[in-house]
């Protein structure tokens, strides 16, 4: 069925930002023209009135945990895909810390098969750097790539051995795989459960200093400089990391980085009352860090926004703070939290779409944009729609969000993957 999206603000950063019509046929973008100039090609064409909406390249979340195989009670590839589509994402990268770890082509293939069966969003598996993510032996990057892996990471755990990290960068480069670094010095972090500082001291919780992250960011920058191989830093949370990445980029070192909505929205104040829904790794930091993250997003030091969507059941969260699992879900709240940065004049609309779509695509070597002939992966966004984060409306199987009952502004109202509608929040109004 062809789809004609009429009168939306078409935002394709670096290319166009104007009110226009977009025609989709056979899964591809057939035409992009000024508003009112495109006609429906036939009676079976669905016409979407996009007045007041943004039409953007499909959002890409390059950092999610879908828990399958192994912890299907937290999330499956199906439920995770549903959450992604609901949040406006057309593609996600699944991290390898499943059980077993995605260190084997058969597991990569299984993830892709489940994703195809779910048939909602594009799923790009990230495989492990080391066997079992144990930091002892390189995985078969060539085999993993052939099975469909898009990158490698021991995410959830850092690659503590610098020699292994160096070799992983070199070996991955030979196969065209991007290495994603979970930057954390495990010894320095040992026992820590929240941001180190006055609040942790008062609450009697062991702290994780900023240096835990930045020492490893600096190491990985040095290894990228040494090898000439790009490295991508996941979930940046500290001002020192932002500064180090900014300096590295100006020195021409091929480092890229992402941060997550919780790091530009929340501080460790959210932990008050021993709130386990504010426990994640890296931890929520200080206001000075949050501001530095915003500046890093504004000037492009931080290329991408990724959610680090980390579903956990009540069993892992309704426990003592020290025992609670790290992580929060993020797919269904990322876009409105990003839109808040636009409302607060931290980012322009075009910046936001760059951070959530174009940059991840560029880092991963994926197609993106709204050009004639391209696959129609598009997100329609109502930037003004106000809604309240309600647990029962969350599509993710797990409900561990620190944003419960927040009133957010802006929502994805339609998600199209290859011209297929995967989220239709406009059905009743527009059909």
């Amino acid at each position: 069925m062809p789809i004609l999206i009429k009168g939306g603000r078409v935002i394709d950063p670096g290319h166009m930002d104007e009110i226009g019509d977009v025609l989709i046929e056979k899964g591809r973008i057939r035409a992009v023209q000024p508003a009112g100039t495109l006609e429906a090609p036939g009676a079976d064409c669905r016409i979407v009135d996009a007045a007041g909406l943004w039409v953007t390249p499909g959002l890409i979340d390059m950092h999610v945990h879908f828990r399958e195989p192994g912890q299907e009670y937290k999330e499956t590839i199906l439920t995770g895909s549903q959450a992604a589509a609901a949040g406006g994402f057309t593609a996600v990268c699944t991290m390898p810390n499943t059980n077993p770890v995605n260190d084997d082509p058969a597991i990569t293939a299984l993830i892709l098969e489940k994703a195809a069966r779910a048939g909602l969003v594009r799923v790009y598996p990230v495989a492990a750097v080391s066997v079992g993510s144990r930091g002892e032996q390189l995985c078969e990057f060539g085999e993993l790539k052939a099975a469909g892996a898009i990158g490698v990471s021991d995410d959830g755990l850092p690659v503590m051995n610098a020699q292994l990290m160096r070799r992983a960068l070199e070996y991955a480069a030979g196969f065209g795989l991007r290495v994603i670094s979970h930057a954390e010095d495990m010894q320095l972090a040992e026992g820590g459960v929240m941001n180190e500082g006055p609040r942790a001291t008062r609450m009697g919780l062991a702290g994780i200093p900023n240096a835990c992250e930045s020492v490893m960011v600096m190491r990985d920058i040095a290894l990228s400089a040494l090898t000439g191989v790009p490295v991508h830093i996941a979930h940046v949370s500290t001002r020192e990391s932002v500064d180090a990445i900014r300096r590295a980029k100006s020195d021409g070192i091929p480092v890229t980085a992402e941060t997550a909505p919780h790091y530009f929205t929340l501080t460790d104040e959210a932990v008050e009352g021993y709130n386990t829904h504010a426990k994640m790794n890296p931890p929520l930091r200080s206001e000075a860090d949050r501001e530095a993250i915003c500046r890093g997003l504004a000037d492009g030091t931080l290329d991408a926004i990724a959610t680090d969507h980390a579903p956990h059941s009540a069993m892992e969260k309704e426990v003592e703070f020290d025992r609670a699992a790290n992580g929060v879900i993020g797919l269904e709240t990322a876009l409105p939290l990003g839109l808040k940065l636009v409302a607060d004049h931290v980012l322009t609309a075009s910046d936001l779409i760059t951070r959530m779509a174009l940059a991840p695509a560029r880092i991963l070597g994926l197609p993106t944009g709204i050009r004639v002939g391209q696959a129609a992966d598009l997100t329609l966004i109502d930037p003004l729609k106000e809604w309240i984060v309600t647990i029962r409306d969350i599509k993710s199987k797990s409900k561990n969000t620190p944003f419960e009952n927040w009133t957010l502004k802006g929502k994805a109202v339609m998600t199209l993957v290859e011209g297929q509608i995967k989220l239709d929040g406009l059905q009743r109004e527009n059909r």
Partner: protein, 312 residues
């Protein structure tokens, strides 16, 4: 006046008036322990659960004695015997406890915030008997009671707390309580044991143990645990004793009428020399005696008792 609080979780959530009330009530409880028949019927028919996830001898004993002197029925659950070892979560344990309708649950737990977790889920009053490195309110209250007995006030005193502040819930609760009551708290110890940002609790950190002790009205020494060597917080006990321990020479830096305290159990020869521990300035055993009185006061107040129940 009655205490309008379901739970006693930390000193931060108690006002100056509430602390005064608890200390005054404890003074009146003290006398009960000196009678030939050390029992009053005040809490007859009330059920007090001593729930100790972490080993404890003196705090548990002290709460148990306090409950019995007030005629409450006390029963105790400890980590070894509780279903925790069978994998039961704190949430399930809380639900099971709730079903037995206890009036007061006294919780000792290795994790900070566990009493808050329990308090939110139980109708019963929760008294924190020490959680992780967060708080130990009954200890701080008995410390304040003991200081007040010896100094007549809690205001305007210089109190030096020396040792492993980072791992001490006793230090945190005393910092909160004593500053609230108008004392000046000065901390000292190896910098590895001073947690970042502790100054924001209204205390100061002295550059040396000597600086902290100079002119002090009260010196409180904290227990040093040998296992801290493993996390690189100290080198040896021998060096600790020499540079950070309390001996006669350092006692002389303090005011002439200084009192020496220690929450126990003490490591003789490490953080405190034996002659100081047993010396004339030591009020360590008064702390133990007052512990029972403070805990009786807490049990009495959280179950709805007031200083003048008739007039209130």
């Amino acid at each position: 006046m009655a205490l309008k609080k379901k739970d006693i979780l930390d000193l931060a959530s108690l006002s100056v008036d509430e602390i005064q009330l608890i200390l005054d009530t404890a003074e009146s409880m003290r006398e009960i322990s000196e009678r030939p028949i050390k029992k009053v019927p005040t809490l007859r028919g009330k059920t007090v659960v001593l729930f100790f996830y972490e080993p404890s001898t003196r705090t548990k004993l002290s709460f148990d004695v306090a409950a019995k002197r007030l005629s409450a029925d006390s029963l105790s659950l400890s980590a070894g015997m509780s279903s925790l070892t069978k994998g039961e979560t704190l949430l399930d344990t809380a639900r099971n406890l709730e079903a037995m309708h206890p009036d007061v649950v006294i919780l000792r737990h290795a994790y900070s915030g566990a009493p808050q977790f329990l308090a939110r889920r139980l109708k019963a009053s929760v008294i924190n008997a020490g959680d992780g490195t967060h708080a130990h309110p009954s200890q701080a209250l008995l410390d304040m009671m003991t200081i007040r007995q010896h100094k007549g006030t809690l205001s305007g005193l210089k109190v030096a707390i020396v040792g492993d502040i980072a791992h001490s819930r006793v230090a945190r609760s005393n910092c909160e309580g004593l500053t609230k009551m108008g004392s000046q708290v000065v901390l000292a110890g190896p910098p590895t044991m001073i947690p970042r940002g502790i100054e924001e609790m209204g205390v100061t950190v002295a550059p040396t143990v000597e600086a902290a002790m100079t002119g002090a009205d009260v010196i409180m020494m904290l227990r040093i645990q040998k296992e801290r060597q493993k996390s690189f917080l100290m080198a040896t006990e021998r060096e600790y004793a020499r540079f950070f321990g309390l001996d006669q020479e350092r006692v002389r830096l303090a005011k002439d009428d200084v009192v020496i305290m220690h929450p126990g159990p003490i490591n003789r020869g490490v953080e405190i020399s034996p002659d100081v521990a047993d010396g004339p300035y030591s009020i360590i055993l008064d702390q133990v005696t007052n512990g029972v009185a403070v805990r009786m006061a807490l049990l009495f107040l959280v179950t709805g008792g007031g200083l003048n129940a008739d007039s209130d």
